[in-house]
């Protein structure tokens, strides 16, 4: 317990230095901004702004990037409630009841409970990270190469399990990511793999440029196909507070949402989006009168909004303690660590305690800032929605292009972004979700390295992965997950065939 207090004190001493406060502020405001604006997600934004953090100390860079992530879920809920438009995937379910509340003139209450619920969830999940990360890192420190390999397999499988759409496609996207990750010099033999004698490729494919192409460029191309449709709420927002009765209704939902989010955030593949969906389902199921949902039930806003913030934050746990990203945003965070020459893994907590605890404390500070600053700023965010997309997307494109260039001050990275923009668009059209590609890319070199090391130690005996109990457990869980996700897929396909035969 003293340790926890000591660690958090260290964290706060890092988080409240003026430079870190400033960047937490910039990050959370930028995050809110992109959360408000539909058509650009947190992954693209973090990639876009990553080059601006190269010159910063690593902890400051991560504080800002983390701010973008949780800021985005705040901003996304604002537009979900006011404009019936989820700015982010994580606020899709907030639309259902939040917008109905706004139409009934209760927008103020909805916004207020969303913000307070998020703040509460943020406080709790910060404590969850502080309490659970050190023991988890201790366990991870005893891992050998075989355990690491199995852990990564488990991480990839769960990310696949939780991806949208076809399982097989998600598996293939992940494998392609692994392959792209090992482009460049092989650390063991010095062989430059798949580099086509291009000097820039010897260091590997540029992570930032790849993400920009895959997400930002492809997102823009996809958005340009759709015509704009934004129905702005014309009535003024009621006062930003909730009544005692509303609070009593919402508070249990906040508690449940926080618990669900904290739990699901830790799971590989989990995070803000999954948490909010799960929370909404739970609230609806346990409600005395489920028919109120979709018609402005405050629990339908309070639960998911708390859950998505809790999930966004606890998804840092596997990234910080194991070095294994659980979603695309965390993959970017690992990328940022590597750019700053910090090898992600359980040793980060002991070798860079200021970074570890500073980042955690900054999340709490950032959440508080968001509530204090954003509630009064809601009017401005809504006005921003009036900026037409035709002015917005060339700007995103320009920032990405210059950002890709600035990674190595080299135009080659911009070509990489173009190539991945093309691939990303094709992926979207073919129903392949691009996020697992990033996970694969980050884990590719680590997976190969640990596979090699495990087999060197066992003299080429593959049973090493199933004879070590911890490794076996993880592989069994991974296999069980695969069976669980594949089984309904087979059933569904057969159903489709059957219905076609009948008709």
């Amino acid at each position: 317990m003293m340790d926890l207090y000591h660690n958090l004190a260290l964290g706060f001493s890092v988080a409240i230095t003026p430079i870190n406060l400033l960047y937490a502020f910039i990050g959370s405001v930028v995050g809110t901004l992109i959360g408000v604006l539909p058509g650009i997600g947190p992954v693209a934004t973090i990639a876009m702004l990553m080059p601006t953090t190269y010159g910063l100390p690593p902890v400051t860079a991560l504080i800002m990037l983390a701010g973008i992530y949780y800021g985005a879920s705040y901003g996304g809920s604002t537009t979900a409630i006011l404009v019936n438009l989820p700015g982010e995937m994580s606020s899709v379910v907030t639309v259902l009841d939040g917008y109905q509340m706004a139409r009934q003139g209760r927008a103020g209450a909805a916004l207020c409970i969303a913000a307070l619920g998020s703040l509460f969830a943020g406080c709790v999940s910060t404590m969850v990270i502080a309490a659970f990360a050190p023991p988890l890192a201790d366990v991870a420190l005893s891992f050998d190469a075989a355990e690491y390999f199995s852990l990564m397999v488990l991480g990839l499988v769960s990310a696949i399990a939780l991806a949208h759409g076809s399982v097989l496609k998600a598996v293939l996207v992940t494998i392609l990511g692994l392959l792209l990750g090992i482009v460049g010099t092989d650390v063991n033999t010095g062989t430059a793999r798949f580099s086509f004698e291009v000097p820039e490729l010897i260091d590997g494919i540029g992570f930032v440029a790849m993400t920009m192409g895959l997400f930002a460029f492809a997102e823009i191309a996809g958005n340009l196909e759709q015509t704009e449709d934004r129905n702005l709420l014309s009535q003024p927002i009621s006062r930003l507070w909730i009544t005692w009765a509303e609070f009593k209704e919402a508070f249990p939902a906040v508690l449940r949402g926080t618990a669900v989010g904290s739990l699901l955030g830790i799971l590989p593949g989990g995070g803000a989006t999954l948490s909010s969906f799960a929370s909404y389902t739970i609230e609806k199921r346990i409600a005395k009168d489920p028919s109120r949902f979709g018609k402005g039930a405050i629990e339908g806003v309070a639960g998911p909004e708390s859950a998505n913030n809790a999930g966004a934050q606890t998804s840092f746990i596997p990234m910080l303690t194991l070095g294994i990203p659980s979603n695309a945003v965390m993959a970017l965070m690992v990328g940022a660590l590597i750019i700053h020459d910090i090898q992600p893994g359980p040793q980060v907590m002991t070798s860079n305690p200021d970074l570890f605890w500073g980042l955690i404390a900054s999340m709490w500070v950032g959440n508080l800032m968001l509530v204090i600053l954003n509630l009064p700023l809601i009017g401005i965010w809504v006005k921003l929605l009036r900026v037409p997309y035709r002015l917005l997307y060339p700007m995103i494109l320009l920032v990405c292009t210059i950002g890709a260039y600035s990674t190595n001050n080299n135009m080659f990275d911009v070509w990489v972004a173009i190539a991945f923009g093309f691939l990303g668009y094709v992926f979207v059209k073919l129903g392949c979700e691009p996020a697992p590609l990033l996970l694969g890319y980050i884990l590719g070199p680590m997976l190969e390295e640990n596979l090699r090391r495990a087999l060197v130690l066992s003299r080429g005996d593959f049973t090493v992965f199933v004879t070590r109990p911890l490794s076996l457990t993880m592989l069994v869980i991974a296999a069980a997950l695969l069976v669980v996700i594949v089984a309904p897929a087979i059933r569904k396909k057969r159903e489709i065939v059957f219905t076609e035969q009948e008709s």
Binding site: I175, T189, L398, I402, Y405, F427
Partner: protein, 154 residues
């Protein structure tokens, strides 16, 4: 397209098979080694085989019926925005950031249905100026501000 009833699965299967095949062909020159001492060619070959095999299964699934909607391709906006970035690459280091940014914004604006000459030009010039302030003066990025053939500064 009567036989291929699910082009999404069929085409993505082919795409992954192509990547797998490329991985196998290209890693042909790297030593495989043995499991106890893996060469640089071991892991890529495994991934290549997986991509090829699973890609084939996916592609074969394309012959099965589906209720999924068919993909509709809109190449024009994609090509316009990628072209605008490509032009930036080719001209950026010669024309300088102001003009290259303006050109990028102008060309990419063409991808929108609501394109207007004046608006795109003005927005491009403003963003070019902001880009110079932020990236060249703020983050000291080594790109020329003005055309090299006028200023003579590389």
């Amino acid at each position: 397209m009567h036989l291929i009833r699910n082009p999404k699965d069929f085409l993505s299967g082919l795409l992954f098979m192509a990547f797998g095949l490329a991985a196998l062909v290209l890693s042909g020159e790297y030593a495989i080694g043995v499991a106890a001492r893996m060469g640089p060619g071991y892991f890529p070959r495994v991934l290549g085989i997986l991509l090829l095999g699973l890609g084939a299964i996916l592609a074969l699934g394309g012959f099965r019926a589906t209720t999924e909607e068919q993909p509709v391709w809109h190449w024009k906006p994609l090509f316009i925005i990628l072209l605008s970035v490509g032009v930036f690459i080719l001209l950026g280091e010669r024309l300088g950031l102001v003009l290259a940014s303006t050109i990028l914004v102008f060309i990419s604006s063409l991808a929108s249905d609501e394109f207007s000459w004046k608006e795109a030009l003005i927005s491009g010039l403003i963003q070019g100026a902001v880009a110079v302030v932020v990236f060249v003066y703020g983050l000291s990025m080594p790109l020329p501000v003005w055309p090299v053939f006028i200023t003579g500064i590389q």
